[in-house]
């Protein structure tokens, strides 16, 4: 045990294709993710902001981590530009095809390796949007979890983090022991803009550390073969046919509505 009141705050960030630019290959049914510019998952801006704000109140450092191909380092640069102190890229062919089970294992091992007190994730990704990675990280490490968190109150002296959580139709305040994994709710804080100096540093000087599956001791537990779920097929959702008629005045609209609601 180190006598250290400062927190190590780990922020897992995901690189996702820019939502508007994903196309599907009609022949193979696979996604052409390569056409789409890759960006930082929008909810992860809220996670980074929540982590920076925790650092300001509790002291310590913020380390961004991503698991992905080598070019995923771009989202680490974004996180560093926003204010993260350091970053680690988990990259290895062995990770390819991982579902949420091995993805959360890799992130859990990295968080453990970094001696994390708090892990702050985004609510969910904008591409596969399972929201399963944060509770998965907590489960792999046997740590507490605070999902759908809207506010965080650090209590480093008590080794506790208090969160206001969104529960269906209401809220709860929960105190969790550290280490703890948070999933911060999308849109619940105002992410700061990257400072110019920080941005230049991130783009020109900064180099993330790189860890492989072997470094984490999990080569045999990751990748497609070790993923319980398999994507069996992908197709474009049948677009819903809509009239798309623009009416000029309220009378016409009111007539349409009367027709529709009189139908049954």
């Amino acid at each position: 045990m180190t006598v250290d009141a400062d927190w190590t705050i780990v922020v897992p960030v995901k690189q996702v294709p820019d939502a508007d630019d994903v196309t599907i290959d009609p022949e193979t049914g696979t996604l052409n993710r390569s056409d789409a510019p890759a960006v930082l998952n929008a909810p992860d801006y809220n996670a980074v902001e929540a982590a920076l704000s925790l650092r300001e109140r509790a002291g310590g450092e913020v380390v961004a981590v991503t698991m992905g191909p080598p070019f995923a380092r771009a989202v680490l640069e974004t996180a560093v530009a926003l204010g993260a102190d350091d970053a680690v890229l988990l990259t290895d062919r062995a990770f390819g095809g991982s579902d949420t089970w091995p993805t959360s294992l890799a992130l859990a091992r990295a968080a453990d390796e970094l001696d994390a007190d708090v892990v702050v994730c985004g609510e969910e990704s904008t591409d596969s949007s399972t929201g399963q990675v944060p509770p998965g990280i907590a489960a792999h490490n046997g740590w507490a979890q605070l999902t759908y968190a809207e506010e965080l109150e650090p209590r480093p002296d008590d080794d506790e983090l208090v969160a206001v959580r969104d529960v269906e139709g209401g809220h709860e305040r929960v105190a969790a022991e550290t280490p703890v994994v948070v999933a911060f709710e999308y849109g619940e804080n105002e992410p700061r803009a990257a400072g110019l100096h920080r941005k230049i540093y991130a783009e020109t000087e900064f180099e993330p550390e790189e860890w492989s599956a072997e470094d984490l001791g999990i080569s045999e537990q990751v990748g497609l073969v070790n993923s319980p779920t398999k994507v069996g097929g992908m197709d474009t959702a049948d677009p819903v046919e809509r009239e798309q008629a623009v009416v000029d005045d309220v009378d016409a609209l009111s007539d349409r509505i009367t027709e529709v609601t009189a139908d049954d």
């Binding site: 998965g136 507490a144 969790a176």
Partner: protein, 336 residues
């Protein structure tokens, strides 16, 4: 890692309960679970965890379960992932279900993500269609990329096969007081003091169910917080008020009324979207509406592509006029 050779059977539904109130999505999953169990010739089992929840178990039987497993203990109220997860894991190891369905609420997703890991289970999120093939393999269809694509996900080598489903995707199972089934109290394996977290306060507000409404009038950022015209129109049409996530995040409307990917799925005859831009995540929750009407000041708003009838205009003028025409009460003065 595969455990093909051990037998896993039965379809389980996690019945989400808070202080005696059951989340509506649980009854929707019982209806779907009944279909799946009939197809595979297995039992449908309701899993009820909470304090003083025998009657919830009995209701689950009335709504289609062959059996209810009830874990009853004060440690389970209110919900926390740790105790629920440990109890679930013990039951899964002992009884080996083939399929487990969980509601995609904040609690359900918190729970599902936690328990899938130690159970070595495959977990498919936010399914909109569920089926089984000849071998009892669950075929879980889910939208991805904000609803632009549908993926079919299978879990060939791991059991249980788990899936979450958002509220409103399936119709709820009706109650039939004549149905028979067992309500079994199971051993509680969790100690009160091994929990990693404690709930300091909990406040549950409006848990409105907008998923069954025939008419839904939804407001978004364009209301600028004044929902009076939306409420008046909903009233005139005998419908429910709903909202985009933006309006919910701003605190103008209760979360229970949010439509979309991270909210509810509604399938009304008429959906009115007022001051809602039409982001993919919103459209995903209203795509099954029979007729969609959009009111927006911006003629280029994406919502018009997802609407049958649109009108370009200020909702603060259009909605009151509409309400008037449709014979509603005259709308109150804006409260801004």
């Amino acid at each position: 890692m595969t455990d093909d050779d051990t037998v896993h059977e039965d379809v389980w539904v996690f019945v989400e309960e808070h202080g005696g109130d059951v989340a509506g999505v649980s009854w929707e999953l019982l209806a779907k679970g009944r279909e799946l169990a009939d197809e595979t010739g297995e039992d449908l089992v309701a899993l009820v965890v909470g304090e003083g929840v025998d009657d919830v178990g009995a209701e689950a039987v009335e709504r289609g379960a062959d059996r209810a497993l009830v874990a009853d203990d004060p440690v389970f109220e209110p919900y926390r992932a740790g105790p629920y997860g440990d109890q679930f894991r013990a039951l899964v190891e002992e009884r080996r279900p083939s399929i487990v369905l969980i509601g995609g609420t904040t609690t359900g997703r918190d729970f599902a993500g936690r328990v899938a890991v130690p159970a070595d289970a495959g977990l498919t999120a936010d399914c909109t269609e569920l089926d089984v093939d000849d071998e009892g393999l669950l075929l879980a269809r889910r939208p991805t990329f904000g609803g632009d694509a549908m993926a079919t996900i299978k879990c060939p080598d791991h059991r249980p096969q788990m899936a979450t489903v958002r509220a409103g995707v399936f119709d709820a199972a009706e109650r039939d007081p004549d149905r028979d089934g067992d309500v079994e109290a199971v051993d509680v394996v969790v100690e009160a003091d091994d929990a990693l977290s404690r709930v300091l306060e909990r406040e549950v507000g409006d848990v409105a169910d907008i998923t069954d409404a025939d008419v839904v009038v939804a407001g978004g950022g364009g209301t600028e917080g004044d929902f009076a015209p939306v409420e008046a129109l909903a009233d005139a049409l005998d419908g429910e008020v709903a909202a985009s996530r933006k309006a919910v995040d701003e605190g103008w409307v209760e979360p229970a009324r949010q439509v979309g990917q991270t909210g509810k799925t509604v399938r009304p005859d008429l959906y009115v979207a007022a001051g809602i831009s039409g982001a993919v995540q919103h459209v995903e929750g209203m795509n099954d509406a029979e007729t969609v009407v959009a009111v927006n000041t911006d003629p280029n708003a994406p919502i018009f592509e997802h609407a049958d009838y649109g009108i370009v205009g200020d909702l603060h003028e259009v909605l009151p006029e509409l309400t008037d025409r449709l014979g509603g009460r005259s709308p109150p003065e804006p409260t801004a």
